[in-house]
């Protein structure tokens, strides 16, 4: 069972070091998103990389629609990997949805994580009465419409043609990556992501967190970073990168790496 998951999720361990550092990519990308960040860390840490089960680089047959209805299934996968590798303590860097997964994992197994580094994280993407998550219901609806059109086309043997450019500008950067999977998986995972709401359990997190935010991320408003800082249960810091975008590990790795390093050393 153990080695199966290492194989299925393309787990790789690189680098030399005593401490373990886990990089978890966001939905719609895969572990190669970290490739320009890695050289800053492989000399000093044992780095663990893996692909989420919904990633395009993983055999789509492994995606179990019944199991992956919420984020807990992804937490299971993460903990399974760490247990199989024999890791009992690690640093965790998670982007976007993987940040949410890291938060949930640290509630279940607080002793496993020395620190969580959360990049572009948000406990809930949809706006609520007093809460500004960044996405309006209508905007999400238009995204789902595009995804449903793709799904229909794909199921009937036609080319799925809706792309990131077809959705409103406000949601485009985030959802662009969501289109990077098979249409049925895309639709399913997107529903999971937009239905998730972790606000209620943030207080249960005891592990210290570093929240890294870019100066302008259309998908994650600045207020969300503050919200996280104030509501996560442990010691929290917020770092702001002087760059724009939701994927700083792709667009500005040289700026992000030192910030992660600093966070790890504290």
């Amino acid at each position: 069972m153990g080695s199966l998951i290492l194989d299925a999720l393309n787990v790789r361990v690189q680098g030399q070091g005593e401490k373990v550092l886990v990089f978890a990519h966001g939905v719609g990308t895969d572990q190669s998103a970290w490739q320009r960040i890695l050289p800053f860390f492989t000399p000093y840490y044992r780095v663990v990389l893996f692909d989420l089960v919904c990633a395009g680089s993983v055999n789509p047959d492994y995606f179990n629609f019944r199991r992956c209805t919420n984020l807990e299934a992804y937490v299971d996968d993460l903990l399974n990997i760490l247990d199989t590798l024999g890791v009992d303590r690690c640093f965790y860097v998670g982007h976007s949805v993987s940040a949410m997964i890291g938060i949930l994992a640290s509630i279940r197994r607080p002793e496993l994580f020395s620190k969580l580094i959360l990049i572009g994280a948000s406990p809930r993407f949809l706006n609520d009465e007093d809460y500004h998550g960044g996405f309006e219901q209508e905007e999400i609806e238009s995204v789902f419409q595009a995804m449903e059109a793709n799904y229909e086309a794909w199921v009937n043997g036609f080319a799925p043609l809706a792309v990131g450019a077809d959705v409103p500008d406000a949601v485009r950067e985030f959802t662009r990556t969501l289109f990077n999977m098979r249409p049925d998986i895309t639709l399913f995972v997107s529903r999971t992501v937009f239905n998730s709401d972790l606000r209620g359990i943030l207080g249960l997190v005891k592990v210290p967190c570093c929240i890294i935010q870019t100066s302008k991320d259309v998908s994650v408003p600045a207020s969300v970073a503050e919200y996280l800082k104030n509501h996560l249960g442990g010691e929290n810091t917020v770092e702001t990168l002087r760059t724009e975008g939701h994927l700083p590990h792709l667009s500005a790795p040289a700026m992000l790496a030192p910030v992660i390093k600093r966070a790890l050393s504290r």
Partner: protein
């Protein structure tokens, strides 16, 4: 009676084996050969015994599946085994790499020519000793050279194990210029026997320096073919100058084929048609130097001097080319100016090289219509003519030249010439429309003023006295002879501009088009009727990061459905630059462009497709996106699909919908190829699973 009439009819089977064997030897198409071998056992045996060239496809680790019936193969290509470009062909194959090498030798005992992907020298150390008679080796590596300081390390196995080596091709092998001279010096017995050396590699950042060129040629005096990337830019140390050229001819007098190409010229992007054509500096090559250079190469048949720095007033030197190199058939000149003076009716400069069969002129700033006509008169045997980046030539000159060469010209390329847009280029070839077999055009649709009346120059007037003298008598005969007057050729055209004849012989079309420009005007521009067009290459180039969207949903590939026999396409969007996932707000990413380019491709009945996805240079990513995968999967007649980039598993599984798809490979054949499977979205396991699924299907034929 019945039996005797059957005895009378002779079939192919009755031919003696020797004759059948000779016939089969000349069949080169693989599918035809496969069909032959299915006829009966005798044909099978004959086909196998005459098949001399084989490219192995399949998984490196399935060594038990190596075919053993092709024992006559002398040329073996192992570079396409799966996974493509794997880190070490032999070590990933099985636990015993020697076993694989041994099995290959048993299956193909007569190999003398080998092509292999050599990521590290260990592969070669194990493989090369299997065939001691190897005379030609082509090494391929798109992955970066390891940063090991041992120069030439990658090539040592070649020189150590192949005593009969006479030909090395490193044109697709990632190496440094410093690797070559040391290994040539270390193995003088092999170097001295080398006849063919191809070092025209795009991976080199600079090109060979003068000292290196001198060292290489000194070590290999028997060379008959030499292709080198060099530096002609005078601001660099080690640039090629007169002494370098003289050293080459002094060291290698037997050269038949010589290509000296400036590194900047090897780039795949087109130049700027608005450039005046002169570079800032001149090359350090003098007229005298050139003349001495040509004098030293009496056996020369093929010469490429793609200099990329001005070589001015070259007419006199080129005249020497004619007298000193009588065998010269192919000539390519880059950045040579004044190649012919076009004074009245005299033939001079390059126009004196009457034996030329192929001529390419690139960036000749002062080439005019008169020059073209002079070349058309002088180089009267030209079958292939290519002109690039010449601002001053127009449709009239080109058309007159085409008419002059109506007897021989079958292949033409016109690119980056400001006054020759697509329509003008096609009109200029109208006189020889029915005989052109291969054509390249730039799809520039912006019109020039149509010069209503005169289509070409009137050759009958006193303009060219000697022309009169040469052709005058023929003109009188033309009424009676079947040899039409060239001037009458160029006057033919319908007044309304529509082409009356079809491009009967056109089999291969190559197009350049800017990103965002539509392809749809192509048929109406003049390529409406191409009944035999089989293969098309389209290169799309441009920067998509400026924020604009394509104006329409479709690039226009559907318009190619006009060509009934079109079956093979190369769609190269690799120089279309944009953002993959990190487009700043307000900007479009490449998925939109990919949808634009590929929309409609399912309407063509393509059999074979090579596709280069657009590129995100910041992250060195060339990958297939969702709309691309979906649209390619709509090409239901595809049998072979090669994607020159990456794609993840979710998307490549779309291709399993194509019923007869047989051969698919993702080839990251660009510099530098991604190091390993954690650098991209592709995983080795994905490739295995996909290939198993692909191979597991029943294919009717």
């Amino acid at each position: 009676m019945a039996s005797s009439s059957m005895d009378m009819a002779a079939t192919m089977n009755d031919l003696p084996d020797v004759i059948l064997s000779i016939i089969f030897s000349s069949v080169s198409d693989t599918r035809a050969r496969n069909s032959l071998s299915l006829v009966n056992r005798k044909f099978l045996a004959l086909e196998r015994s005459t098949r001399t060239s084989l490219a192995l496809r399949g998984k490196a680790r399935d060594i038990y599946m190596i075919p053993t019936c092709f024992r006559s193969v002398t040329h073996l290509d192992l570079s396409l085994l799966s996974p493509w470009g794997c880190s070490d062909l032999l070590s990933s194959a099985s636990s015993d790499p020697f076993l694989l090498a041994h099995r290959l030798r048993l299956a193909f005992p007569l190999v003398t020519s080998l092509t292999v992907y050599a990521r590290s020298p260990s592969t070669l150390h194990i493989l090369l000793p299997q065939w001691p008679n190897l005379s030609h080796v082509k090494l391929i590596r798109w992955h970066q050279r390891s940063s090991s300081p041992h120069l030439g390390n990658d090539l040592v196995p070649l020189f150590e194990h192949c005593q009969a080596l006479s030909s090395i091709d490193l044109s697709s092998f990632y190496h440094w210029t410093e690797d070559i001279p040391p290994v040539l010096h270390a193995y003088p017995s092999v170097s001295k026997a080398l006849k063919y050396l191809d070092l025209l590699t795009a991976s080199l950042t600079d090109g060979f320096k003068s000292e290196e060129i001198q060292a290489i040629t000194a070590a290999c005096p028997s060379l008959t073919k030499l292709l080198l990337v060099c530096i002609f830019d005078p601001s660099y140390f080690g640039c090629v100058g007169d002494e370098t050229l003289l050293a080459i001819v002094a060291n290698c007098p037997k050269l038949r084929v010589l290509h000296l190409v400036d590194r900047a010229s090897l780039g795949s992007t087109r130049g700027e048609p608005d450039d005046d054509g002169y570079t800032r500096e001149d090359a350090k090559i003098s007229k005298v130097g050139l003349v001495d250079f040509f004098t030293g190469l009496p056996l020369l048949q093929e010469l490429v001097l793609d200099v990329y720095q001005n070589v001015r007033d070259s007419a006199l030197s080129l005249e020497a080319l004619h007298s000193k190199c009588p065998e010269l058939k192919l000539l390519k000149l880059g950045q040579f100016h004044g190649i012919c003076m076009a004074i009245e009716s005299q033939l001079d400069g390059v126009a004196l090289c009457s034996g030329l069969v192929s001529l390419t002129i690139k960036n000749s700033a002062d080439l005019t219509d008169m020059g073209l006509i002079e070349i058309g008169r002088g180089c009267c045997k030209l079958a292939k003519f290519e002109v690039e980046g010449c601002k001053k030539i127009t449709m009239k000159g080109m058309r007159t030249m085409a008419s002059l060469l109506h007897k021989t010209l079958i292949e033409v390329k016109i690119s980056c010439c400001k006054n020759l847009n697509a329509v003008a280029s096609l009109r200029s070839l109208e006189p020889i429309q029915g005989q052109i077999e291969r054509l390249h055009l730039d799809c520039v649709w912006e019109g020039l003023e149509e010069d209503g009346g005169i289509l070409c120059f009137d050759l009958n007037e006193g303009l060219c006295q000697s022309f009169e003298h040469e052709y005058g008598s023929k003109r009188k005969k033309s009424r009676y002879s079947s040899d039409p007057d060239p001037s009458s050729f160029c006057m033919q055209s319908n007044g309304n501009g529509m082409f009356s004849k079809s491009w009967d012989r056109l089999r291969y079309l190559s197009l350049w088009i800017g990103a965002g420009v539509l392809l749809t005007p192509l048929p109406t521009a003049g390529l409406y009727d191409c009944p035999n067009l089989e293969e098309i290459r389209i290169k799309v180039e441009g920067d998509c990061r400026t924020g604009h969207k394509p104006s329409q949903r479709e690039f226009g590939l559907s318009c190619l459905a006009y060509y009934p026999r079109l079956s093979k396409m190369q769609l190269d969007c690799s120089d279309t630059i944009g953002f993959a996932l990190t487009a700043p707000s307000g900007q479009m990413d490449l998925t939109l462009w990919e949808r634009f380019f590929l929309n409609g491709i399912g309407n063509l009945s393509l059999y074979e497709l090579d596709y280069w996805p657009p590129q995100d240079r910041d992250v060195n990513q060339r990958s297939l996106a969702l709309p691309g995968a979906g649209l390619l999967a709509e090409c239901l007649t595809l049998r072979k699909l090669f994607i020159h980039g990456t794609a993840h598993e979710h998307f490549i599984t779309f291709f399993l919908r194509i019923p007869n798809l047989r051969d698919v490979q993702l080839r990251e054949d660009y510099y530098p190829a991604p190091e390993n499977d954690t650098c991209t979205e592709m995983r080795v396991g994905s490739c295995w699973r996909f290939e198993d699924a692909l191979n597991g299907r029943q294919i009717p034929d």
